[in-house]
Every structure is written in structure tokens, then in C-alpha cells.
């Protein structure tokens, strides 16, 4: 039996400064993040939730209409937190532009922003969203006006991408390979060339045929212009990384009771341990606990009997609903037990499924109550 994750204790603790919700796609991370933030605000903490790519109706439930990249006060009738709940949607392109503007002189910034390669990197590189989410978190933390920052993570294939992607982007930006491609001898030195051998010249040639010399030239110009600010970038990323490892941060791994989602959750738990990052626990969304203890065999036998007699269809249906539910709950418990066996020290809270999608603040509050085990 897993330890219980006490969500309210976590939210109320003034030492909790940042909560990061991570997990694989489709498990309800964004909803969980929003529900936690709403609950924390109701319980008296000045809270901001940073959402990444929320579903339209969820965004609307927080009063967010556009990606404007700054925290907005959530004003919804009947939800009185005296202005303690704020929400924002990440605009990764704008966050990147702002970083460039802040770090480069105006002339150089213009050069970078106008470069076609920068436009590719800032809008479609698979690690940019993660990197910018980290950057925004860093900014919000530095701002100092929040008791609690709740962060949603990008909807990536794997939960681990959140930790790995910034590193990937750094590799691209730090320019070693681009210098190799544009002028191998100068940048890499003899040693590296020797390893790769004569193939490298051919490789460079092939690459420039495939992707076009122009793109390579753009990339090269970009990296040169970017070079002087790269140190600053890396320093900031390093700082955010330290923030993630600090005791004020709590990671919540979000999963659904499905084998894939729990496998991802397992990987993530191991990874957090390896990085010495503070894990608060597992949020298991959309569970179906049974609400009556009647054993499934008796329920089905009675349903069959009623069906034969044919005079109590409602009771028979109720019994079959229950039998289905027991089967689902049993499977969910078995999956959770497998996770718990591998990670006995991870505290867990199950969030019973709502029958319908959440699309307003009332729904988020209900999720919040279920998160807290009310």
C-alpha cells in the first residue's frame, strides 16, 4: 500500500515555492496544474499557474483568451480569492525573442531575430518549448511576487523530454557542430578530424547539397551572432536547473491508470532521483474506485436472476454497472500496485474521474477537492 500524498499539506507549506506537474501526454497535467493553483489560491497563497498549450475550454475556464505571455488575474464570478490566482499561457516564440532582446545589443538582436534559422529554431525545434518553459519559470521565480508557482510541462511524447530538451537545444546553439560544418579544420582541431576521417568533408558536402548551402550559411551567421550571448543563456538555464533541484520545488508526477502512462511515470521517478530533484508524489488521475462493497460474483449472479425473472430491470442494470466498475477498479489497483512495488517510497493520491470533461472553474475546484482526498 502506497503512502498517501497530502496535497493540502504541500500547498499550504510556505516552503513550497514551485510545483512542477510532469508526465506523458494525455494524462491531465494541465488540468491538474490549474486545479492545484486554484486550490492553493483559495487556501490563501498568492499563486500563478504557467500553462503550456492548454485545451481551449480549459484556458477559457481560467479566463485566458490569448497567449499573451504575462500572468493575468483570474476573475471568474463566484470565485473569490481576493486576487490571489493568476494564470498565463506560454508563448515560446515571444519568450525566446524577449531573451534575445534582453541579452544582445539592439543591432545584434535585430540580426538574430531576422535570421531564417532563428525562426526555425524558435518556432519548431522540439526542445524550444521545454527550454522556454524553464526560462519563464526562472523569470516568474525571480520576480518574487508569488508565494507559489505551479508549472505545467509541454505535451511531449515522453515525460523525460522536459529535462532533456534544454540540453539538446544547448547542443545546437553552442555552435561546435555548426563551426565544424562550415569550417571543419579551424573549429574542431586536428584530433576530432582524425576521428571522423576523410568522411567528414564528404559529409559536409552531402549536407549542404541536401539542406541547401543557404540554410547552412544562415545557420552559421546565426551561431556567430548568437555566440556572444550564449554564455548568458547557459547561465540562466543553469540557474533554473538549480531552482528545480532546490528544496522549495516539488515535482508531481501525473499519470493515468494505464500501463503506458505508469511506465513513463516510473522512468520519470527514477530520473528525478538520479538528478536529486525533489519528488512530492504521484497524482493518479481518472481512477474509478468502487462505491459499494458488494462482491462482483454475487452482483452478477443476482443480475442474471433478475434478468430471468424480468421484473426488475433497473436493479439488474445497477448490478451490472457495479460489476463493470469492480473490474475496472481491480485493473487500476493492479497497475498501481505494480508501480508502488517498484517505487515503495513514492506517495500517491488517486483522483476519481469526473464523468465529463472539465471546462469551468467549478470543475477545477471539484478536481482540487478530489486531489486533496475530500
Amino acid at each position: 500500500m502506497a503512502a498517501k500524498l497530502h496535497v493540502d499539506k504541500l500547498l499550504d507549506d510556505p516552503a513550497t515555492k514551485v510545483i512542477v506537474c510532469c508526465g506523458s501526454g494525455g494524462v491531465g497535467k494541465t488540468t491538474t496544474a490549474a486545479a492545484l493553483a486554484a486550490r492553493a489560491a483559495e487556501r490563501g497563497r498568492r499563486t500563478v499557474v504557467l500553462t503550456i498549450d492548454p485545451a481551449r475550454r480549459l484556458a477559457q475556464s481560467l479566463g485566458l483568451r490569448e497567449l499573451d505571455n504575462t500572468p493575468r488575474r483570474v476573475q471568474v464570478e463566484g470565485f473569490d480569492t481576493e486576487d490571489r490566482l493568476h494564470a498565463m499561457m506560454l508563448d515560446m516564440r515571444r519568450t525566446f525573442d524577449d531573451m534575445v532582446l534582453a541579452h544582445a545589443g539592439p543591432e545584434r538582436a535585430e540580426q538574430i531575430l531576422g535570421n531564417p534559422f532563428y525562426q526555425t529554431i524558435s518556432s519548431s525545434f522540439s526542445g524550444t518549448q521545454e527550454y522556454m518553459a524553464m526560462e519563464k519559470l526562472g523569470q516568474l521565480a525571480a520576480d518574487g511576487s508569488w508565494d507559489l508557482i505551479v508549472v505545467d510541462t509541454p505535451p511531449s511524447r515522453s515525460a523525460l523530454d522536459f529535462l532533456d530538451a534544454p540540453q539538446r537545444l544547448s547542443t545546437v546553439l553552442d555552435g561546435r557542430i555548426i563551426r565544424l560544418l562550415s569550417a571543419p579544420a579551424r573549429a574542431g582541431g586536428r584530433g576530432l578530424l582524425k576521428i571522423v576521417g576523410a568522411g567528414f568533408g564528404l559529409f559536409t558536402k552531402a549536407i549542404s547539397t541536401i539542406i541547401g548551402g543557404q540554410l547552412l550559411a544562415d545557420a552559421s551567421a546565426f551561431v556567430q551572432a548568437f555566440d556572444s550571448m550564449f554564455g548568458g543563456f547557459r547561465e540562466r538555464a543553469q540557474k533554473t536547473y538549480q531552482l528545480l533541484r532546490s528544496p522549495g520545488t516539488a515535482f508531481l508526477v501525473v499519470a493515468a491508470p494505464e500501463p503506458d502512462a505508469l511506465r513513463e511515470a516510473s522512468y520519470f521517478v527514477e530520473r528525478l532521483a538520479a538528478e536529486s530533484m525533489p519528488l512530492a508524489g504521484l497524482v493518479l488521475n481518472r481512477t474509478h474506485p468502487v462505491l459499494a462493497k458488494l462482491p462482483v460474483g454475487r452482483a452478477l449472479a443476482a443480475a442474471d436472476e433478475l434478468d430471468r425473472a424480468g421484473d426488475a430491470p433497473l436493479a439488474a442494470a445497477v448490478l451490472r454497472v457495479h460489476a463493470d466498475r469492480v473490474a475496472v477498479a481491480t485493473r487500476e489497483q493492479r497497475l498501481l500496485a505494480r508501480f508502488t512495488k517498484a517505487h515503495p517510497s513514492v506517495a500517491v493520491t488517486g483522483v476519481p474521474a469526473l464523468a465529463e470533461d472539465v471546462h469551468d472553474l467549478a470543475g477545477l475546484r471539484e478536481i482540487g477537492r478530489r486531489l486533496a482526498g475530500e
Partner: protein, 342 residues
């Protein structure tokens, strides 16, 4: 082993069509978490039933096929992974973009030997970052090659190829290589290869199937994807309604029950008739479960109505409560065959 609940499957408006049977490349997409990989595998077995050879391809580097068939990770080669009733055969391929790139460099530029070192340095990843469309072109190019490959007799190597594609949000970008190639390759063999991909993807040989659940969000994503596919002149195939659960309440009882009106006294009397005497809170628990069931049914009905807007052939697959193992895949395939998939 799991027994599919056939009683959950209702007759769809339009089932599998002749036109779909003529497709040779079946692309399977859907919102994350809807069961794309499971549906792809079941479809591959269904299509192989009766003695055909089918290739099941994945491109997301997740090794989802290997996990599903309970096998070690697939190498970058076409491996026989299962047989189908009637002498059919299923092979599987996990397309790794880096490996496809190396294969490509080796083929056209005689550059096989430096590959591993370059890969270790991150050079391949770097290039695919420079030109993000390149990854997709390499992967779809490999798929095209498999679809077009013939044996010495002139017969197609594979009767069908089933592609477990990226999720709906990314699928059009992935399949519509025209745009990617304009951005990337202006000359050279990649351009030639991608012209062939464009022809295949936009031809009657290809159908893009959409997997959904009977929930609002996946259905909305499905509808959005249909619009997007139409806009890119790619052909939507069938909708696979996955994980359909049985309805236990009669249709006419659903609205009241979903509003919380389940007559506890009548339930109690019915239970008593079957010899079940339960405490009040037990009965209350059963009633609450039934109300939740009714709310779900009501949401499913709305989802079905919404889905009808897509006006596509549809097939349904039941929820497997015990999870999906290899045996269950065969049962799902049988359900598909019963609904006309061939």
C-alpha cells in the same frame, strides 16, 4: 485472457467500405492516449487474415509495437512478429530517422563508414534540427519504399502497410512532405524521393484512419484533423471508435439517471427480489455508480452525434478491461474482420 465485450459494439452508420479495402497504405493517427498503437496492430492482423502479408511500421521511436507484442526492442529491419489466421503474416519495422539518414547517406553519397562517429557527435541530430522537415521526409520515404517494393515475380512484397503515425496534432505536417521538401531539399535524391512520397500520400492507395474515444476532446480533435486532412488534400479513411464500453441502462432511463434521478427504493426492492439485502450506504454507493454511468452514457451519445459530423465510415472496438495482451490483439482483429475490415 481478456474477452472483448461484443455486446458493447453497436452497429455503426457506415462500416468498412470497398474503397478502404483498396488502400495499401493505412495511416493510423489519433489524439494521444486513444490507443493508436493497439488499433494499428489489430488492423494489421485483420488485414493479414486470410493469407496476406502486412507490414506494421512505427515512426515515433517509442518501441510501442515491441511492447505490445511483448518482444525485445525492434531493430531497424523488417521482422516477422506474428501470424494471422489463414496463413497471414505480420512483419514489423521501427523506422529510426537517424538510421534512415545514415542509410540514405550510404546509398547516395557512399558515406557509410563515418556514420557512427557522426551520429555519436550529434551531427545527425543537428542536421535534422537545422531542417526539421528532413526527419519526416526520411521516415515517410522509408514507408513509401516498403509500400512500393516488389518481389521478383512483380507481386508487391506487402499487400498492406499499416503505419502507426504521429498523433493528430502533428500528422498532417508529417504526411504532407511537399512543404517540408520545399523548405529543405531543392536538388538531389531527397527531392526525387519525396516526390514519390507526395504521389503516394495523395493517391487512392493511402487512407488516413483516425482513432478516437467517445469523449468530447478526442472527438473534437478528430473533427479538426479531418478538416486539416481535407485541406491538405489527404484522404481521411475510417474512424476507429476505440474502447467502447457497454451501456447497461436502457436509453430511455439515461436522461433521468444522468440528472441524479435513480429511484433508490426501486433498486432496493429489486435487489431484495434477488435475495440481496444491503445496507443503505451500500445501496447509495450502487446508485452513485449508476448515476456516473448514466452521465458517461449521455456524454458518449453527444460524442457520437458530434462524430457523425465527420461523415466517415466508422468501426468500433470494445474496451478490454483486463488490458491488452497479444491474445487480445487477435480478438480485436476478429472484431474488425466481423465489421468488414479486409
Amino acid at each position: 485472457m481478456a474477452t472483448p465485450r461484443l455486446d458493447a459494439v453497436t452497429t455503426p452508420i457506415v462500416g468498412w467500405t470497398e474503397e478502404l479495402s483498396r488502400a495499401r497504405l493505412h495511416v493510423v493517427t489519433g489524439k494521444g492516449g486513444t490507443g493508436k498503437t493497439t488499433v494499428s496492430a489489430a488492423l494489421a492482423i485483420a488485414l493479414a487474415t486470410g493469407g496476406r502479408r502486412v507490414l506494421l511500421v512505427e515512426v515515433e521511436e517509442r518501441q510501442g509495437i515491441a511492447q505490445l507484442f511483448d518482444r525485445p526492442p525492434l531493430p531497424y529491419s523488417e521482422e516477422r512478429i506474428a501470424s494471422a489466421p489463414g496463413g497471414g503474416e505480420i512483419r514489423a519495422l521501427a523506422v529510426d530517422a537517424d538510421a534512415a539518414f545514415m542509410e540514405y547517406l550510404a546509398m547516395f553519397y557512399n558515406l557509410g563508414f563515418a556514420g557512427r562517429t557522426l551520429r555519436r557527435m550529434g551531427a545527425i541530430e543537428f542536421v535534422t534540427t537545422l531542417a526539421p522537415g528532413l526527419r519526416d521526409v526520411l521516415q515517410t520515404g522509408k514507408v513509401k519504399e516498403c509500400v512500393g517494393r516488389t518481389e521478383a515475380t512483380g507481386r508487391h512484397m506487402y499487400d498492406h502497410v499499416v503505419l502507426d503515425a504521429p498523433p493528430t496534432g502533428r500528422v498532417v505536417k508529417f504526411l504532407d512532405v511537399t512543404k517540408a521538401v520545399q523548405d529543405v531539399a531543392k536538388v538531389g535524391p531527397i527531392k526525387g524521393q519525396s516526390e514519390g512520397v507526395v504521389r503516394l500520400m495523395h493517391s487512392g492507395d493511402t487512407a488516413v484512419h483516425l482513432v478516437t474515444l467517445l469523449e468530447e476532446m478526442p472527438v473534437r480533435e478528430t473533427l479538426d484533423a479531418v478538416v486539416e486532412l481535407d485541406g491538405a488534400d489527404l484522404r481521411p479513411g475510417a474512424v476507429f471508435v476505440n474502447r467502447v464500453r457497454p451501456a447497461r441502462l436502457a436509453d430511455r432511463s439515461v436522461p433521468a439517471a444522468a440528472d441524479g434521478r435513480v429511484d433508490a427504493a426501486r433498486v432496493r426492492a429489486g435487489l431484495a427480489a434477488a435475495g440481496l439485502k444491503l445496507a443503505d450506504d451500500e445501496v447509495q454507493g450502487l446508485v452513485e455508480e449508476t448515476v456516473e454511468h448514466a452521465v458517461r452514457l449521455r456524454a458518449e451519445t453527444r460524442a457520437r452525434e458530434l462524430l457523425a459530423e465527420a461523415d466517415l465510415p466508422a468501426v468500433e472496438l470494445p474496451e478490454l478491461v483486463d488490458g491488452v495482451d497479444v491474445g487480445a490483439l487477435y480478438e480485436l482483429a476478429e472484431v474488425l474482420v466481423d465489421q468488414g475490415v479486409r
